[in-house]
């Protein structure tokens, strides 16, 4: 009965979660929210994580009714992500591991999302669409690796959404993407914008610049409302994501799709993906905001799987890395 604790802080969410044999015992989280029109920067984000780490850790232990001695392994996000936030979070995890004298496992953030998604939804071998503020990848598992079939060639889709929210000065509470989603529900006029799918890959910086340049003019002219712009942006970028996912599915002959990552909370994206799936007689799996959004339990769960299969991160390798590709990790915990 492995009990794992996981520390996640690669972006603006600080999460610490405890998992016991695939059961989430606790999963508290704090989000660093900046004022409207502003994005979060590494230094302040790291500061936020430092300020909240101990409180959240205590919450995690209390809610799970776990004591330090009960923990078998301490897991933390090794990467990818923003440097300072990653490090500030890992410092807490490593210190705690030393204090409690527990082994440590550095977990790939993307793999944390995937394994938690598989656990919660029961998806067996899905094509995974991983979409967040920092990542956009279409992943399929083959021969012990989570292989990247397609990805963004520039910015992540969540980044595109977040930055557009700043143009419209939308609130970042609870998240800019959530507020764009609510606005989009009230929009209905479609603005034609660049659609950039290149084979299995996608590109968002062109769309973002297009929108950044034109938004004010379109709003001032009265031709489009902010709701229409949010609607148009979503319809276009989500169509791009669904298309690349479908291509990967066709290539791998897969009949399951799993959406993970913060942008995966978006119900319109889920709806569109669902329509594509039903046209192909495939099944869609998605999680809710507890697990879509960065959280500690996903790190704990992935780390736990790794630990059970003999993985250990030696102390001199307990570093963090901003670039950590999903396909770099050997997935020793899967039999297929």
């Amino acid at each position: 009965m492995v009990i794992a604790i996981g520390f996640e802080g690669s972006a603006n969410k600080l999460g610490i979660g405890i998992v016991k044999e695939g059961v989430v015992l606790s999963n508290p989280r704090r989000t660093y929210i900046t004022p409207p029109g502003e994005g979060f920067l590494p230094r302040e984000t790291a500061q936020h994580h430092r300020q909240n780490a101990l409180i959240v850790l205590q919450e995690a232990l209390e809610e799970a009714k776990i004591k330090a001695e009960d923990v078998d392994v301490v897991c933390y996000t090794k990467g990818p992500g923003m440097g300072a936030p990653l490090v500030s979070t890992s410092v807490v995890a490593l210190t705690v591991a030393q204090l409690w004298n527990k082994p440590v496992i550095g977990v790939n953030h993307c793999i944390g999302h995937i394994e938690m998604g598989r656990l919660i939804t029961g998806a067996d071998n899905p094509t995974v669409l991983y979409v967040s503020g920092g990542n956009t990848q279409v992943i399929a598992y083959a021969r012990k690796r989570y292989r990247i079939f397609g990805e963004t060639i520039d910015i992540a889709v969540g980044n595109c959404l977040d930055r557009f929210a700043r143009v419209l000065k939308l609130s970042n509470d609870p998240s800019p993407g959530y507020n764009i989603e609510q606005m989009a529900k009230k929009g209905n006029k479609l603005l034609k914008m660049p659609y950039a799918v290149k084979g299995m890959d996608v590109s968002f910086s062109g769309i973002l610049s297009f929108m950044e340049e034109r938004a004010q003019g379109l709003l001032d002219s009265g031709e489009y409302t902010p709701e229409d712009l949010c609607f148009s942006l979503q319809e276009t970028i989500f169509a791009m994501l669904v298309e690349t996912t479908e291509r990967a599915m066709a290539h791998c002959e897969s009949s399951e799709v799993l959406i993970v990552g913060g942008v995966g909370c978006n119900l319109r994206l889920q709806e569109m993906m669902g329509i594509m799936c039903s046209e192909r007689n495939a099944k869609l799996f998605a999680t809710d905001e507890r697990f879509c959004i960065d959280n500690g339990a996903m790190i704990a769960h992935a780390g736990s799987e790794m630990f059970k299969h003999g993985w250990k991160t030696p102390w001199n390798e307990t570093t963090c890395t901003q670039r950590y590709r999903t396909d770099e990790v050997e997935v020793i915990w899967r039999d297929d």
Partner: protein
């Protein structure tokens, strides 16, 4: 308004659409019909599909001017989202040709047969790129092999569904990268074929090949390592 393709037989179905085979205007014809994607906003679906059909047809026509053999186009139907083109009868994919060449032969023996084909592949892609046509999906399934009456190797390039016109060296480098990866994942002797392809490519696109191959190496090395930004 879309009518069923009477008298046509479905050959293949992919994510983008379906391929049918039959007779049209008295000729053996392949029809590529693109699906209407219900998850897309109807306006988006319509203009995206139209743009893609245009891009595909344009690339097929321009490739001929570049001296690359492509199917003859018979009709373009935006309303029913179809492209009607020549069915190249009596050909096999290069993929099949290569695989068949290896049957009952040693690698060296097979390479004797494959070498001239690999060379010709490099030539045609070089010509394509010299005219700024990016195929977008170079695989051995998208090149057809046949022999002329005088036993000359004839290669026909098909499936321009992801093509576009661009003079950027980066896009051309990526085109080559896609081909390399496709070869590596399909053919055991890819490592012997690709250098020959590049050799012919350099000759066919002498003006730009240096820059393009440098980009190709860049894309290869990059292997998509990118910084994650919050």
């Amino acid at each position: 308004m879309s009518s069923e393709l009477e008298g046509f037989e479905m050959m293949k179905q992919g994510a983008e659409g379906r391929l049918f085979r039959g007779a049209y205007l008295g000729k053996p014809t392949v029809v590529k019909e693109r699906f209407k994607k219900m998850y897309r906003h109807p306006d988006l679906d319509e203009h995206l599909t139209k743009d893609r059909i245009k891009a595909e047809a344009r690339a097929i026509v321009r490739s001929k001017a570049a001296g690359v053999r492509t199917p003859c186009l018979y009709h373009v139907d935006f309303n029913q989202r179809r492209l009607y083109m020549e069915d190249i009868v009596g050909s096999v994919t290069v993929k099949k040709f290569i695989k068949d060449s290896l049957i009952g032969c040693s690698d060296e023996e097979a390479m004797v047969k494959i070498k001239p084909v690999a060379y010709e592949i490099g030539s045609i892609i070089g010509r394509l790129h010299a005219h700024h046509i990016i195929h977008g999906d170079l695989t051995t399934s998208n090149i057809l092999y046949s022999l002329s009456e005088s036993s000359k190797i004839v290669l026909t390039l098909i499936d321009f569904g992801l093509s576009h016109i661009d003079n950027s060296a980066e896009d051309k480098g990526v085109d080559l990268y896609v081909l390399e990866r496709a070869l590596l994942s399909t053919h055991s002797n890819a490592d012997k074929m690709f250098p020959i392809i590049l050799q012919a490519y350099k000759k066919a696109n002498s003006q730009e090949s240096k820059t393009i191959l440098a980009k190709f190496e860049e894309v290869r090395a990059r292997g998509r390592k990118r910084t994650m930004v919050g």
